[in-house]
């Protein structure tokens, strides 16, 4: 059985047990947090975060071999800014809170239309939401690494200007920036609509754009 199916089954079993034994919410919450904590260590959520982590290490390896970044701390800064440990802890807490909220709703409304299966469906939806958001974080972090490596290499190679390039834009920021040529300092000072650095994250989450070296 996949960990994902197992997750739903274990949460489902716990809720059923709580209902049968007539636990109070405090006890159920305590048990749920225990189970979810354990599950989080086994499910893809953690694996996905770790795969991004190992990819970053791989990039770091490349970077050391090629000797391009010895003096440049930006890659390390990016890694620190990624702060995967903190992100993961926050995600785990978010899952706990959201699932407890779903179960609370069930207890409040269990005599009305809120059925047991609906409660379990909602728990599954919470897990899916967090898995998807973990995926976005990982994809964006990987894209940021690629952009930063290419940008820094181009600077090392003597490029002074970059062009914001890529497919037709969806976001306002990208629409405004597309095909514009900026200098290194202008790019480093630029913030996207999410308040992040446009230098390595361009328009932000899942952005499809990039900075191409521009030589006049």
């Amino acid at each position: 059985m996949k960990p994902w199916q197992d997750t739903s089954n274990r949460i489902e079993a716990l809720i059923r047990r709580a209902i049968e034994a007539g636990w109070d919410l405090k006890k159920l919450r305590k048990e749920l947090i225990k189970v979810i904590g354990k599950i989080a260590n086994e499910t893809n959520l953690l694996n996905e975060i770790f795969s991004a982590d190992s990819e970053i290490k791989l990039y770091k390896g490349n970077v050391t071999i090629r000797g391009l970044y010895r003096k440049d701390k930006s890659l390390q800064t990016m890694y620190a800014e990624g702060d995967f440990d903190r992100f993961y802890a926050k995600q785990k807490q978010g899952i706990n809170n959201d699932i407890v909220k779903v179960v609370k709703d069930y207890f409040r409304n269990k005599d009305s239309k809120y059925t047991e299966s609906k409660c379990i469906e909602n728990v599954k939806a919470v897990m899916t939401k967090y898995r998807n958001s973990a995926q976005t974080i990982v994809n964006t972090a990987n894209a940021n690494m690629s952009r930063m490596i290419n940008f820094n290499m181009a600077v090392e190679d003597g490029v002074k200007y970059f062009k914001y390039s890529g497919p037709p834009a969806e976001r306002e920021f990208c629409r405004m920036m597309l095909d514009r040529v900026l200098s290194i300092s202008e790019i480093k000072a630029l913030k996207n609509d999410f308040g992040g650095s446009a230098w390595y994250s361009c328009g932000g989450w899942n952005c499809r754009h990039r900075w191409d070296a521009y030589i006049e």
Partner: protein
């Protein structure tokens, strides 16, 4: 044999990398022709890799896609409308014209980089193994984007300025 100074060769490599990306984004392959059209046949893709789950929901509702589990227990998506229409749906909010530009998530071209620029040799490739695989798949499907024909190499004003400037030679 005449040799480029390494600094000049690295600049030429960066320029070539940019020209390839720019050309690919505009829908032209390495031979100067438009890319082969995307397929209209149904195809399978992983649920995890589906870029926009909101659009997937809409597609399932309108019976344009089906979510299922394969024999190994992995969640998959069968897109019935084919890749060409699928991509149009994904980017309906942009002014995407349906032109083939090898850009879905944008990751492949974001990762394309200069792997080597020394000893009169330039190698353009990928840091990330998955992106290299993606590029190889595109090439094997007849959409070859990696490379520059000689006429571009010699006639592109940005490149010829770098190539034919005697100051860039190691003499």
């Amino acid at each position: 044999m005449l040799k480029f100074k390494e600094s000049r060769l690295r600049l030429i490599a960066q320029m070539i990398n940019s020209i390839i990306k720019e050309r690919t984004t505009s829908g032209i392959d390495k031979f100067g022709k438009s890319f082969k059209e995307y397929s209209t046949k149904p195809f399978k893709t992983s649920y995890k890799g589906f870029p926009n789950k909101g659009i997937l929901k809409q597609m399932v509702k309108s019976e344009q896609a089906v979510v299922f589990e394969n024999a190994k227990g992995y969640k998959m998506v069968l897109v019935k409308i084919g890749y060409a229409d699928y991509k149009k749906q994904l980017y309906a909010k942009t002014n995407y014209s349906g032109k083939v530009n090898l850009t879905l998530s944008g990751r492949m071209l974001q990762d394309q980089t200069v792997l080597r620029a020394s000893e009169n040799t330039i190698i353009i490739g990928f840091n990330n193994r998955d992106m290299a695989k993606r590029a190889a798949q595109n090439i094997s499907r007849g959409r070859d984007f990696l490379g520059l024909p000689n006429e571009v190499l010699l006639n592109d004003p940005r490149l010829s300025k770098l190539i034919f400037d005697i100051g860039g030679l190691d003499i």
